[in-house]
């Protein structure tokens, strides 16, 4: 079939139904909390005459648990990289063939053949960033680009550290420090990791997701952090510096995807296409403070985003490490280590 003709037909049918039946113009988005720019939603609603409802979650796992039960009524979800892989395997995502959409040409080619969705059959980039840590350079003057100061902190940082309350982020950082592979099921190496974490924990003050608040209230002087959160914290505490440790750090990407049982499938596809428009991607970045995978979006981004050290990586930093989902036996082992750590 002539794909251009088909597309034109589909578009006009959608356009017609959108005009004719306003009540049917609905879209239900399930995204991370405080991660969706209300301006961007307003623009989408006006452009396509669609009513959008927005609901939030706080972790990939929460979202998965809810979606797995089925019948949520949500159309759009925004899973992280490894979660896209899991949801595809579980048959929870609709095959939307994003590569055939109009705006697909705007995507940065680096983000097309990704391990979690090769060729982009199910999802398109939303935001991407890194998980490392940020330090107050006034408190600690030494070299910050090493995990040494997290796991064997100097005197001025002892008891002044917050780690994310996240099993994978903490364990992965420890594995990088010990130079052991990720998704590790080697008992000897995991035992060393547990010993390392138990020892380091005495020097940590808290383990909490509320990174920005912990830093700006001066409860801690170093915190494991996502780069966007580090940038927002720096707004209030200008002495904060985001580290690119030489041992490595996590890279991640959240992706726009459509649920297999989406009630408003066509509107959802419109939204996916909409999100690949440079101006719309920039709206999200300006709000959430992370980079997106859409070329040409910098033209529409806030000036301070373009040279922020949290977003523009130094040339000598290692490449971000995108960690794949681990097997069940690894997850069980991680669970035990994590429980031991906090028992």
């Amino acid at each position: 079939m002539n794909s251009k003709l088909f597309k034109a037909a589909v578009t006009s049918v959608i356009a017609l139904t959108a005009v004719q039946a306003q009540a049917e113009g609905k879209l239900n988005i399930y995204n991370w909390g405080n991660y969706t720019n209300p301006e961007m939603i307003k623009k989408f609603e006006a452009q396509y005459d669609i009513d959008v409802t927005l609901d939030g979650y706080d972790s990939n796992e929460t979202m998965l648990a809810k979606v797995k039960e089925g019948g949520t009524g949500y159309d759009i979800v925004v899973p992280g990289d490894y979660m896209v892989a899991i949801m595809v395997e579980e048959g929870l995502l609709a095959e939307i063939n994003a590569s055939e959409m109009d705006n697909f040409k705007n995507l940065d080619p680096n983000w097309i053949d990704v391990y979690w969705d090769p060729g982009r059959k199910y999802s398109v980039p939303y935001q991407w960033g890194t998980t490392s840590f940020t330090v107050d350079a006034d408190v600690y003057g030494g070299d910050i680009n090493t995990l040494e100061i997290v796991f064997n902190p100097p005197a001025e940082l002892k008891g002044r550290i917050n780690m994310l309350n996240d099993m994978n982020d903490v364990i992965n950082a420890g594995l990088r420090y010990l130079d052991y592979p990720r998704c590790n099921s080697n008992p000897e190496q995991m035992k060393q990791l547990l010993d390392l974490l138990l020892k380091a924990k005495d020097d940590w003050r808290t383990m909490d997701y509320a990174v920005i608040e912990k830093l700006t209230s001066k409860d801690v002087d170093l915190s494991q952090s996502w780069n966007g959160a580090a940038m927002r914290a720096r707004n209030d505490r200008p002495t904060l510096k985001y580290a690119y440790p030489k041992e490595g750090f996590t890279g991640w990407m959240d992706n726009v995807a459509v649920l297999a049982d989406a009630p408003n499938m066509e509107n959802a596809k419109l939204f996916v296409n909409f999100m690949m428009d440079p101006e719309n991607a920039a709206l999200t970045s300006n709000f959430a403070r992370y980079a997106n995978g859409v070329l040409g979006s910098d033209k529409f981004m806030d000036a301070e985003m373009l040279d922020a050290p949290e977003i523009v990586m130094p040339a000598d930093a290692p490449a971000p490490d995108f960690v794949k989902p681990c097997d069940q036996d690894v997850v069980e082992l991680y669970n035990k280590v994590w429980t031991r750590l906090k028992q």
Binding site: A65, N165, P187, L194, M207, T339, Q343
Partner: protein, 317 residues
Amino acid sequence: MADIVQQPATGSQNLQQAVQARAKAKRRVRLFLLLPALGIIGIFGLAPLSIALIYSFLEPGTYGGVEWSFSTDAYVQFLFERDIFDDTLGFNSAYLQIFGRSFGLAILTMCGTLMLGFPVAYFIAARPPEQRNAWLFAITLPFWTNLLIRTYSMLLIVRDEGFINLALMKLGVIGAPMQMLYTDGAVLAGLVYSYLPFMILPIYASLEKFDFALLEAGHDLYASRIQVFRHIIIPISRPGIVAGCALVLIPALGAYITPELLGGGKKLMIGNLIAMQFGSGRNWPFGSAAALILMAVVLIALLLSLRAGAEKENRHG
């Protein structure tokens, strides 16, 4: 019933039948009227519990959820584990330790609220009736605000650059901020603060109608203050104390927000442990089992304390 029908009906038997029929109809009406309540208990109480019970005997699905094959692993896992490192089945105290910490904290919370709450309740009950409502109003006032917000305010008060530290440093009492936040003490203070009204209100209710002339009578009979307290006040307020302790202990056991916010998240509590199994832990059966074990322990403790209470009452009665 069958022989009643065979026998010739006499007057008294007719009456008896009529009474029975009436009682039956009454029962039916009562049952009918109870249906909404029973329905709610069934749908929102028993059904979720049954799901938890069933899930606890299944195997965990790869990415959360459950596999439909019978297994008691979830319960075995609670006490024993295949050693992380050499795969032998050994006793595992990790979860018991977490339960122990939660119970210890909940019991301390109960004692703290009792020690603070009893005098307050007594004080209010001893006010003239027209003043009592104002005092009760003051006690319940914080409850109009969400628990999360109250806990968060607490955090602002005790943190390094919080109200207490700044005030003490201004006054020159201390030179550097005291580290109060993210300690067990902070969690305990937060829990006591949150649950205090649950202790005050039932004790107040049991003392409300108390005739304070009885105290004078006790003193007239040469009872010391301590004897009056032990033999008059305590027995009168016992039901309130028991209810208050249960009302504080049970929610304190499952407390989630307070330990997370004020404790700094370095140690697991039961609530956090269970929540973790349904999230990154991907082990729903174990989460269900842990929740049911907690419930069973609480239920047994409650039954024992009720029985002890009843025996005591009989002895006094």
